[in-house]
């Protein structure tokens, strides 16, 4: 789960990381009031779950409260990578001497949390890694001991030759590690970590991604979720316990299992079609899930054909068949549907479907070809 910069900064603050003050505004008037209260030049920053906010014009300086109002009215409502900006963070502008990068992620290869720090901050760290890898120090953390003092200081000296600043950075890295583990994060990033002309070290930006698997045991973090920052169809799917990702094609896919769902999308493409979505109804049987899945898929006007691909292991195919019957009874379909079922209780499922005027297929390739033909307006294969 992504959280906003202002939310991540609040977590950082609680762990003692020096972060400039700031307040969130949802209207230009709010922004003006907040700017006035700071009484200095401010930065107005779009709060959206997208990188490259600055390049997109979502981060702007405002010298006066009136400027802040004008700038906020430009940024609020603007689209950044398809997301509408609903909030801005108003924060006093800092004098910057240097910009560095500090981040921590869970690294698959070493199976540990790994720090990455670089004196080349303020820009995309992947770019630094690709072009000048020598400017990045990577440090895997042993989870049994946490980040040790000398390790933090080593990274501090990698960033700053000055011992006072190195020590300040080391302290921030310790606090960042604490914030990361206490929040069940999979990523925590300060970009840029700046020094001021007075020599202070400050976290000017904050980014955190929380591991979705942690949210059940951390309700205070789950409450930070901003539904308005996501596609409505994906929010509806999450509330129905479905994994759904909207794509640009016209074959709506309903599949059980993530791997089979991906393979089904790939096969749609292989046979000349384009998948409209990724949708995994999961492993357990539940007709209600099928009803919700169909509701979400049929809400997409691009969908020209619906493809069910169910391999029944734990999932009982008769439950899926019942779900299809129930869903289409209350909301008759306006696009053709192709159903492929095989596995647990397949005979019962086929009978249920046939009784209600549906035909069922057992072969994945044939079903996909047929759905593609229907979606592209050609005759059924």
């Amino acid at each position: 789960m992504n959280i906003h910069e202002y939310q991540a900064k609040e977590i950082f603050r609680r762990h003692g990381i020096p972060v400039p003050p700031g307040e969130v505004a949802t209207t230009p008037e709010d922004a003006e009031r907040i700017a006035r209260s700071f009484g200095t030049t401010v930065v107005v920053k779009a709060q959206v779950h997208a990188g490259g906010r600055g390049k997109a014009g979502g981060v702007k300086l405002a010298k006066t409260p009136a400027d802040a109002k004008a700038v906020a009215s430009q940024i609020l409502g603007m689209q950044i990578k398809g997301l509408t900006v609903q909030r801005v963070l108003v924060t006093p502008a800092a004098d910057i001497a240097t910009e560095a990068y500090a981040g921590i992620i869970v690294d698959r290869a070493s199976k540990r949390a790994v720090f990455m720090v670089s004196p080349a901050g303020g820009i995309d760290i992947e770019e630094v890694a690709a072009k000048t890898p020598e400017k990045i120090l990577r440090l895997p953390v042993d989870p049994r001991y946490g980040l040790l003092g000398f390790e933090a200081l080593r990274m501090g000296f990698f960033l700053y030759p000055d011992v006072k600043q190195a020590r300040a950075a080391a302290k921030i890295l310790q606090q960042l590690y604490a914030a990361f583990t206490a929040s069940g994060a999979s990523l925590a990033e300060i970009n840029p970590l700046v020094t001021t002309p007075a020599g202070e070290v400050l976290a000017l930006d904050a980014k955190m991604v929380i591991d979705d698997n942690e949210l059940d045991r951390r309700p205070e973090l789950a409450a930070l979720r901003d539904d308005s920052a996501e596609a409505p169809s994906e929010v509806a799917a999450r509330k129905a316990n479905l994994t759904f990702i909207k794509l640009d094609g016209n074959v709506g896919c309903v599949v059980n299992g993530a791997g089979l769902a991906m393979a089904t999308m790939d096969l749609v493409k292989y046979y000349g079609g384009e998948p409209a979505n990724f949708l995994d109804i999961g492993g357990s049987s539940n007709p209600e899930k099928v009803v919700n899945a169909l509701r979400i898929i049929t809400a997409d006007p691009n969908v020209k054909a619906i493809l069910f691909n169910i391999f029944g292991g734990i999932t009982r195919t008769d439950d899926v068949a019942n779900g299809i019957v129930t869903a289409t009874r209350s909301n008759p379909l306006t696009v053709p549907i192709v159903i492929r079922l095989t596995g647990t209780n397949e005979e019962i499922a086929v009978k249920i479907l046939q009784e209600h005027g549906f035909s069922a297929m057992t072969d994945m390739d044939e079903a996909v070809q047929r759905a593609v033909a229907l979606a592209t307006g050609g005759k059924a294969a």
Binding site: R108, R144, D211, G259
Partner: protein
């Protein structure tokens, strides 16, 4: 022969009285798996279905039954502790079916399991089956049949799809292993490939990968350098958009790494045959038997 499990597997079920645990325990017993004990704290002294003794702790279960393998069906917040409990009790093979284990938990679990000399399969996996011998997990037994193909996969239902095609075409399996879809798991492709290479009955290996991470690329390197047996590969997620988690926690393209194209390229460079569709395994495996 087979890898990891066979007739000598003596299994403990952690979470045997839960909904999933009890359902799949019945299925495993029906398949012929030697289930010697269950563990549910507070239910020690009872029996499951009148036949399998239940213990409060894994240590008690191991001491009483000499079990060597454990399968875990406990809910995600308790799964990490359950894995470490099994490792501490001296269980040598631990299979964690649970989906949704926090990844920071796994950063602590992995070294703990290693230090105790155990092998972990999963989490977030369907487990494994050596057809005709033993099944640990949730892979449907009736789609499998004994034979010469070793299969290893990051997926569940996609594995069933491929096994189903192979079985229908008359090509049985030594062992099918689902290593799971999480970013940090206990057993990777290379571990399974090495075990299949050593197993005299395995003649061809089917390997089903997906987007995210570099496990498949490392496996391709291993195939090139260490495998004498042919390996047929497949990658799911060619149409997956970057930056989105495709159901499995580990199935995500980060920046430009972990794409299907890069993995397929690695397979080709290692001299592996690449299945474009799941059904292509049938002809590609048959040609290599």
């Amino acid at each position: 022969m087979s890898i990891f499990i066979d007739q000598s597997t003596k299994l403990i079920v952690q979470g045997i009285t839960g909904r999933d645990g009890s359902f799949h325990t019945k299925q495993m017993i029906e398949y012929g798996t030697c289930v010697v004990a269950g563990v549910t704290p507070g239910k020690g002294g009872q029996t499951f279905e009148g036949t399998v003794p239940i213990f409060n702790t894994v240590a008690d279960a191991v001491a009483a039954t000499g079990a060597n393998t454990s399968v875990i069906y406990v809910p995600p917040p308790f799964a990490a502790d359950a894995i470490m409990e099994a490792a501490a009790a001296g269980v040598s093979l631990i299979v964690c079916i649970t989906e949704g284990v926090p990844v920071l938990d796994m950063t602590r679990v992995y070294p703990y399991v290693q230090e105790n000399g155990a092998r972990l399969i999963g989490p977030n996996c369907p487990g494994l089956i050596s057809p005709g011998k033993s099944k640990v997990g949730i892979i449907p037994g009736r789609i499998c049949t004994p034979g010469p193909v070793g299969l290893v996969s990051r997926s569940g239902t996609l594995t069933y799809e491929v096994v189903y095609h192979l079985t229908r075409a008359g090509m049985g399996q030594t062992t099918c292993v689902g290593i799971g879809g999480d970013p940090i798991n206990g057993t990777n492709f290379i571990d399974c490939l090495a075990a299949f290479e050593r197993d005299p009955d395995t003649k061809v290996i089917a390997m089903i990968g997906e987007i995210g991470g570099t496990d498949e690329q490392n496996a391709a390197q291993f195939v090139k350098e260490h495998m004498t047996k042919p390996v047929v590969g497949f990658i799911a997620g060619q149409t997956a958009p970057p930056g989105r988690r495709m159901g499995h926690a580990g199935a995500i393209i980060s920046g430009s790494t972990g794409t299907a194209a890069e993995k397929i390229q690695a397979f080709k460079e290692a001299g592996m045959a690449v299945a474009q569709r799941p059904v292509d395994f049938v002809s590609l495996v048959r040609e290599r038997l």
